[in-house]
Symmetry: C2
Subunit: 280 residues, 2 copies
Amino acid sequence: MGMANMDFVVRECAAAVDGQMAVVRLGTCGVLRPPAEAGQLVVASEGGVCVRRDPDAWTLSDGRPRYPLSAAVPPDPQLTSLLDAACVAEVGPAGVVRGLNATADGFYGSQGRTGGPFDDANDDLISDLLAARPELVSLEMETFMLLHLAACSGGKVRGAAFCIALAERYSNRLFLDAPTLRRRELEGGRAALSALVSARLDADASTLNGNSPHARPAGGYVWEEGYEESAGGDLDLDLGGGGGDGEDGAGRAAPGGEPRAARARAAAAGGGERRGAGAP
Amino acid sequence: MGMANMDFVVRECAAAVDGQMAVVRLGTCGVLRPPAEAGQLVVASEGGVCVRRDPDAWTLSDGRPRYPLSAAVPPDPQLTSLLDAACVAEVGPAGVVRGLNATADGFYGSQGRTGGPFDDANDDLISDLLAARPELVSLEMETFMLLHLAACSGGKVRGAAFCIALAERYSNRLFLDAPTLRRRELEGGRAALSALVSARLDADASTLNGNSPHARPAGGYVWEEGYEESAGGDLDLDLGGGGGDGEDGAGRAAPGGEPRAARARAAAAGGGERRGAGAP
């Protein structure tokens, strides 16, 4: 959960995919103002901004903003349009709301949750966000990183995002009831997959991954490139059980493997708003 | 994994603890320069800084730094001293190294990992970090958030951190071998617990949690305070199986429960450097 984990998902999927990759995030969010309400599917049609706590505002006490807001990053227009239509097909026009999403770097301070012993200085955070970006509709923890990475991918990654509105931050309504949430998860999942299978990807994108025809040999990891095998170690780490120690590491790459599909689509699902322990 | 999840751990533990709380982070890290080497225990004796990717450097292309570095936040001196001594007792003086830690907001861009299709502009990141903070010794993804929250806690939280050096970023040595890592995990765990049980906590800290004698009634969550029950929903979400829907939610608070221990200590363990799938 959170932007660091979205970063993992996008980069490691991108390294395993030959060619252009479409990614739709489906998660949960809080909605920030009417008419958005709990239970709707919230499409980040205007893309996303990022709100992060600046720890130096506390450490240095120099008057800088505590929660600076980034510039907006747009989503992929075609994928977003497909996603919007698929959402309407699943839940009807009244079940879909659109706007700008804000991705926070935490669940508490940078989402305006107050109380407890911590000096968060966030009493006015949500109203400040809405004043700065009137088109803001939702708040969660992952979308911005997908859109930012897509923007930095040189065409490799195309991203769109939507969320199930789980909490109404303006009414302090707790959470969407569990049966409706379960239904929205299925409807949203179908909408994401529908958009992904309909998206047209660039046919000539097979060299977008750094090292054509693959970014990494099968069995490797995106971040291993700069490393060599440690002297006494092994990489396979007991895969398959036993005998891992002292292997020469040759098993890590599987040369000659079949090229993977030239196009790939991935749906990244994850939490934004949290539910209690024991949630299904 | 990552700062958002450290934020969750610290805040939710703090809400469940009456009085002052000592937290030691034990994780893994990369080390940035000799004499630090893989296999050592790296104590954040000088505390930590935070290195984060500024997405606006890409979005706005206005020449701002891509990976600005925060000011340093110190650790709790007493807890750190106890931790250092406990590490030496476990692995000997040569097995312990000390310095300033850097917490990155991702595993790739903001840790100087290069390659792949993304425009990370991070070829010089690690050398820039070392030039800016010569006392830097380690790089991981969680420590700073613990220290920052402790600094913002009004005395509620005391934090210290150390890591197992898993990778040498300067030599491109892959990873500490698995048997040594396993041993360090046990040694480090013992050192963390030894420091925690030895730490003296303020006896008069029982009101530090916002709402004395407890921040939250038993069974509640730190972030629920501002919410009301949704009309048709339930909070217990199938805890205990069946019958959750339509409950009135009265079970969420357990009034009259016994006060929890006046003092509590927590050791947060988690990954920093990553290992391959199938890691033990």
